[in-house]
């Protein structure tokens, strides 16, 4: 079961690279995503047995992140197949910069998308930190060609930064892994391990100074990939220059993979009695990310960069929740689910706006509600969802985390977080409203175009799912979240 989930998209990627028919390849993309989601659902309903010492297998946390990645990939695959079918094949001009470009071959793009799914599945399945490292680095390599789909200087620059910054960051995480081995080895240097279960079982027997050093390196390394400030510099560039389906996957699924790596390291520290040390570091990085992101959200001129900075902010919120521990960790996991649903939906809507207006400039995008009634409405609904308004699921998860933050001695964290959220709300609301409302300029007649179902359907479905989670969390999901939170050293409400 576990191996099938990993190998299915990997094999499909190889096939996609070989197929010559574009239509067939797009069908393969959607079919593979559907099969992967079905297998994931089966895995949720009846978790496959897994030997305790096995390197691969889905524990509760792995199942949760597998579920997010698989569901998102299905939605994005439907959307991407539609987008690829309307992409023009010849030379085209980017209106914002005036550069002429062609697209990368579609076969390579689809193959990389599927390989990306395979590597994300491997991340979720890893119970060995060495395997986890290999898988996270592999996600970087699979996504770099995806960002460089529109072959123009700006996306090349973004790809270069992404590849270099993340590879260097993740190399530091490898060093963290080595330090962890030193922390766990017997006095004669043998018997060190990287299996998460064994490390958690060793608990307080781990060597404290080495474990602390290991956590710092793992946090900085995977934090780079997750987009925590101040290592987030690659994120706005990559998210704004990648094609919209890829941005949706990067923000909704890839960042979570790195978060899982950090959570694993944090759970080892908690088991060793260093939960306070690692939690404070996480909360510090989290608050810094929220503050910096909020500053860049106000008056942001490019709406895809706006969404990217919002991702930095929400990653900060996740790190804060994980750092606070206890019930807040449950809140962070729930928020990871909600943020993925909403942010992927928003990036897909942004793709529709970009296709209609041919610009990423906020100032030149007006009257979306009139020009694209469905996408415009989804854009506004997405605003409510991403800023944590009830009745969306983000409200419930943010509320859970902030309530836990208002414990004696750390109220200031809750105040800082609330302040950042308020600034972000003001900045985003102004931009979103100015884009959705107002008249449409004459060059875009006729207003009120019919939109293709595949263009808005996936975003609508994801937003509806987030709304559903705000009204009622299904028992199965609630149980899984609680299970995962306890596994990672937190608590369920």
């Amino acid at each position: 079961m576990t191996l099938t989930l990993i190998l299915l998209p990997a094999v499909a990627a190889a096939v996609a690279a070989a197929i010559r028919s574009d239509r067939l390849r797009r069908a393969l993309l959607v079919a593979t995503a559907g099969a992967h989601a079905a297998l994931t659902a089966a895995c949720w309903i009846r978790p496959p047995a897994c030997a305790p010492e096995a390197w691969l297998g889905f524990d509760a946390a792995g199942r949760l992140f597998l579920g997010i990645a698989s569901l998102l990939f299905l939605a994005v695959a439907v959307y991407a197949a539609h987008r690829l079918s309307i992409e023009s094949h010849g030379r085209q001009a980017e209106e914002d910069t005036g550069s002429i470009f062609v697209n990368a071959p579609e076969a390579v793009h689809t193959a990389c998308l599927l390989a990306f799914l395979a590597t994300m599945t491997l991340v979720a399945a890893s119970r060995h930190l060495g395997v986890l490292w290999v898988a996270v680095e592999a996600t970087t390599l699979a996504t770099a060609p995806l960002i460089y789909f529109h072959r123009q200087p700006r996306s090349l620059e973004a790809t270069w930064k992404y590849l270099l910054v993340c590879s260097v960051g993740i190399a530091l995480a490898l060093l963290g892994n080595f330090l962890l081995v030193v922390a766990s080895a017997a006095p004669d240097g043998t018997g060190g391990t990287l299996v998460v279960r064994e490390l958690v079982a060793q608990g307080a027997e781990l060597r404290t100074p080495w474990l602390k050093a290991a956590f710092v390196f793992l946090l900085v390394g995977y934090g780079t990939k997750m987009g925590l400030a101040p290592m987030h510099t690659w994120l706005p560039d990559a998210h704004s220059e990648a094609p919209s389906p890829v941005s949706a996957l990067l923000s909704g699924a890839l960042l979570n993979c790195a978060f899982l790596g950090i959570l694993r390291a944090h759970s080892i520290c908690s088991a060793a009695g260093l939960g306070g040390f690692s939690g404070n570091l996480l909360a510090g990085f989290g608050l810094l990310s929220m503050g910096i992101a909020a500053a860049f959200l106000v008056n942001q001129a490019d709406y895809k960069r706006l969404l990217a900075y919002s991702s930095v902010e929400h990653m900060g919120l996740l790190a804060l929740g994980a750092g606070l521990g206890g019930v807040a960790l449950y809140g962070a996991l729930l928020h990871a689910v909600n943020h993925s649903l909403v942010k992927a939906a928003l990036f897909m809507v942004a793709g529709n706006l970009l296709a209609a207006y041919r610009t990423k400039q906020v100032a030149r995008t007006r009257g979306a509600l009139r020009l694209l009634p469905v996408s415009g409405a989804l854009w506004l609904a997405g605003l409510l969802a991403i800023t944590g308004m009830p009745p969306f699921g983000t409200f419930a998860s943010e509320f859970t985390m902030l309530r836990a933050a208002f414990a004696p001695g750390r109220e200031w964290m809750a105040v800082v977080a609330l302040l950042a959220l308020a600034v972000a709300f003001a900045g985003m609301a102004r931009t979103f409203l100015s884009m959705a409302l107002g008249p449409v300029s004459d060059e875009f007649e006729p207003a009120g175009r019919r939109e293709h179902r595949a263009a808005f359907g996936p975003a609508l479905a994801l937003l509806a799912a987030s709304l559903w989670l705000g009204l009622w969390i299904p028992n199965g999901l609630n149980g899984l979240l609680g299970h995962a939170a306890r596994l990672l050293g937190g608590d369920a409400p």
């Binding site: 060495g130 395997v131 270099l164």
Partner: protein, 216 residues
């Protein structure tokens, strides 16, 4: 074997200093290749006996870093007609001075936090850390995209050396996975260098700054 390991690690430190001071790309590639081959010997020198996994790991690493990477980078150099001296953001003499300071700090750190057991050589941790730093420094202080790839390789060399301290606990399969990742990373970076050269007519990564916040 102690002396063999020691000489090898001193070689590592010397090549790092050479890299910091070298201005010709072709020389820098050659130095990094020599470093990679030397590191391939480390697994069995450090542990005194030749196990199958140490042999495989060493040979794979040496072949990759000594043959494949230099061939890839040299091909890139030929294609893009860059032979000129590197234009550094930080000059060579300052680079060397900073490097000497960092080397001293690496030794101090190695003495402050010794391995809990007898390490293959007291030089291992300082040499590994210094190589790691040299790679990072090359990425940050040199302008050409190809030098940044070289910096990444050198940084990886440093981590490989540090990994020797814990080689027995890292399963071979994972080590090979790491090598594969590094290979693909350098391969993809190599392809991107071609594209940067074609799009911009140069490979100065420091001029890739259109995406800075506030840029038009």
């Amino acid at each position: 074997m102690q002396s063999g390991t020691g000489s090898l690690l001193i070689f590592l430190i010397l090549t790092d200093l050479l890299l910091l001071g070298s201005s010709r790309l072709r020389n820098a590639i050659r130095i990094a290749a020599a470093q990679g081959v030397a590191l391939g010997l480390l697994p069995w020198l450090a542990h005194g006996h030749l196990t199958g996994s140490a042999l495989l790991l060493g040979a794979g690493s040496a072949a990759l870093k000594g043959v494949v990477f230099p061939a890839l980078l040299n091909r890139a150099l030929r294609e893009i007609h860059v032979r000129r001296e590197i234009e550094p953001l930080i000059g060579y003499i300052p680079s060397l001075l900073i490097g000497t300071g960092v080397l001293a700090a690496a030794f101090a750190f190695g003495a402050r936090l010794p391995l809990p057991w007898e390490s293959p050589s007291p030089l291992l941790v300082p040499a590994g850390l210094f190589t790691l730093w040299t790679g990072l420094f090359l990425i940050m202080a040199r302008g050409k995209a190809i030098t940044q790839v070289l910096g990444y390789i050198v940084m990886e060399n440093g981590i490989f050396a540090l990994g020797m301290a814990v080689v027995e606990a890292m399963p071979l399969l994972v080590e090979l996975g790491v090598l594969l990742d590094v290979f693909v990373a350098v391969f993809v970076m190599g392809i991107l260098v071609f594209h940067i050269n074609r799009e911009f007519d140069h490979i100065d990564a420091d001029q890739l700054d259109a995406l800075k916040e506030g840029a038009p």
